[in-house]
């Protein structure tokens, strides 16, 4: 046996299956995500995206197969310790309502027992990074708009300088303008912090222009995996539908703007 000379993959799924209520909601998935890559995970609602993502920080356990993070089997890890090392922004944001924005952002550093000063400095840095005014640190989550809350969620995920970032629909139900600015922010942060980012998104338009790789899943399986450009060539109906949807919308939009072109 020879030691691997190259760096291990950030995430490696090896024949992973998750069953719920008799159905395989993740069905024998094998997948590798290299360190430093920015990957979008997409697919229709209920396709298994969230489940795939949560396998990484062991919020979901594999019923069969293994998940490795930087070469280590997550089944052998202590879940709290594993999770503190991985930035995670969940689908519903899930800020702690009784903690201030600053305390929410500093949650993981606090768990890791960073000194108060260091935490305060980090909070200030992150508020700048996600473009929120510093005095937002004293607000409570109920005093934030949806987009502001998403930014705080992102800042919380980044607070302990993880190497791996898991984002579950960070654009949630945001308006288009906020989506674009937040998507830009995320890709900027990705580059800045030398992260490996796995981002679940419903909507290809956000992802296509910014990521290097898109993985499409459908009914718990991977049905397409490649550069954004290569997706267009796919004939899988799930992929076709996914690409068609925004185009269809764009057509309709164009038709509204230029009714004279439509017969």
């Amino acid at each position: 046996m020879t030691a691997p000379a190259i760096a291990p993959d950030a995430i490696a799924y090896d024949d992973v299956t998750v069953r719920r209520a008799g159905n395989a909601i993740v069905d024998r998935v094998t997948l590798k995500i290299a360190q430093g890559s920015f990957v979008a995970l997409t697919g229709a609602s209920g396709a298994g995206k969230t489940t795939l993502l949560r396998l990484v920080n062991r919020m979901v356990r594999a019923d069969a197969g293994r998940v490795r993070v930087f070469g280590e089997d997550v089944a052998d890890a202590d879940p709290p310790e594993l999770r503190r090392g991985i930035g995670y922004a969940s689908q519903g944001v899930g800020l702690f309502p009784h903690w201030t924005v600053a305390e929410n952002i500093a949650a993981v550093p606090w768990l890791l027992r960073h000194a108060p000063r260091r935490r305060a400095a980090r909070v200030a840095e992150l508020l700048d990074l996600v473009e929120l005014p510093r005095d937002f640190g004293d607000r409570f989550p109920r005093q934030l708009s949806g987009g502001q809350a998403s930014r705080v969620g992102l800042a919380r995920a980044l607070a302990a300088e993880p190497r791996l970032l898991l984002l579950d629909e960070p654009f949630g139900a945001l308006d288009p303008e906020t989506r674009v600015s937040l998507a830009d922010k995320i890709s900027e942060l990705h580059d800045l912090a030398h992260l490996t980012t796995l981002m679940v998104t419903h909507d290809l338009a956000d992802a296509l222009t910014r990521v290097q790789r898109v993985i499409v899943c459908d009914a718990g399986r991977i049905v397409a995996d490649g550069t954004p450009a290569s997706l267009v060539a796919s004939t899988h109906p799930a992929v076709v539908a996914l690409i068609a949807a925004p185009l269809d919308q764009a057509d309709k939009l164009a038709a509204l703007r230029h009714p004279e072109l439509v017969r």
Partner: protein, 507 residues
Amino acid sequence: MLPDRLAAHLGVSAAAIALAIVVAVPLVMLLVARPALRGWVLAGAAVIQTVPALALLALFYPLLLVIGEVTQRVAGFGIPALGLLPSLLALALYALLPLLRGGVDGLASVPPETLDAADGIGMTRRQRLIQVELPLAAPIVMGGLRVAAVWTIGAATLATTVGQKSLGDLIFAGLQIEDWSLVVTGCLAAAFLAIIVDMALWRIETGLGERAWGKCLLGLGLLVVLVVGVTGWYWSKRAPVAEGERPVVIGAKSFSEQYILAELIAARLRAQGVPVTIRSGLGSVIAFRALAAGDIDIYVDYTGTLWDSALGNKMPAPRGVMLATLTAELPKRHKVEIAASLGFENAYALAMKRADADRLGIETLADLATAAPRLRMATDTEFQSRLEWRALQAGYGLKFARLTSYTPTLMVRALQSGEADVITAFSSDGRIAADDLKLLADPRGALPAYDAVLLIGPRRPELKARLAGLAGKIPVEAMREANWQVDRDTDKRTVQQAAAWLEARAK
């Protein structure tokens, strides 16, 4: 009387709530971990809640007696079945439902996505509980605690019936002798305690919600100062109890005659240099058991009551037989002794206005039987289900034109206002002389006798000699007058004054 009752009340309430919390916390944790058990445990707590607090307290007494007997046999020590222990257990059980509900509902109210976020950032179970679940559940948990505290402080007034000092002493005594200022004082004091405690808990609750630790500490401090200060004062004050000799504990059930006789006995014993304490307001059945168990040393009971409750006889016997049998059997069966027969009866009897009785020529129950079809009878609510009523039917075959049952006060009103012609009465009731009622004689001896007797428990046999002088010294007329002094609405006397008056007659 008020300050030490207040202190005892606060002490027993605080201890009960503390005990309930100690039980509720692990139970809530269990229910959160095993939601399947939730329905069962909460239903169990709800069932406890439906038992009236008075009955729950009374039930703990015999239970503890049995347990005490077992520990006595197995480990060589008994446990006190009267006073603090049953009150503590019953009140704690009573406080359990709001605490469990608050805990379970509070924890269930934490949004799942918040819990998910807590797990997702790497909190341990413990951290999640302390940092996220408890603070978010706090308003509901504290709500449950506040309900429990207010209930417990209210229900602790009932601890009087199992011999625990509390504000209930004032209320029960006041209700009995119709001294409304006593009743109101007791109620207001309990309400005052409840309000202060609730306010302190409310401070803690808002403090937790706003994470204003100063507020929490203030509330907590208020509670600690209140409980520690008041109960501490109470303990320091009750320290000078003579080491060697335990005071004689005189029991009294919850009616005027019993209070007066307890004071009279106390005065006699004090005059002989014997230290005494009085435990008044005891439930009727509890008093006898407390005596047999040695929790009280002496009290007055009635032969007719003992015949049924202590010896289990369902059929009445002639007066002399009853007294002789009790005198012989009680020491054998219960290690309880009849020290003296006081000389009067507090028996059920039928009474009429003297004028009516004379007009109709009714002297006895036999006369009444002839006139009954034209007369209206009012009984207290209990009487028609008692053995006395059946005995009356069997002995005289009474058939009235109308038969109604009332609460005791309303029954007397019905007679006064002419809505009833015949009522039930107790032969030593002060009202009989005052309202000029005629008690109808019972030539066939159908109604059982209720001779007042002095009962002495196993621990203090010497009391028999000390109180022998009371035998036959209290005629029914004197007892009626003493009762009336306390019961009447105008020119009321205190229980102590009435006892002193009676003592002067009993020389």
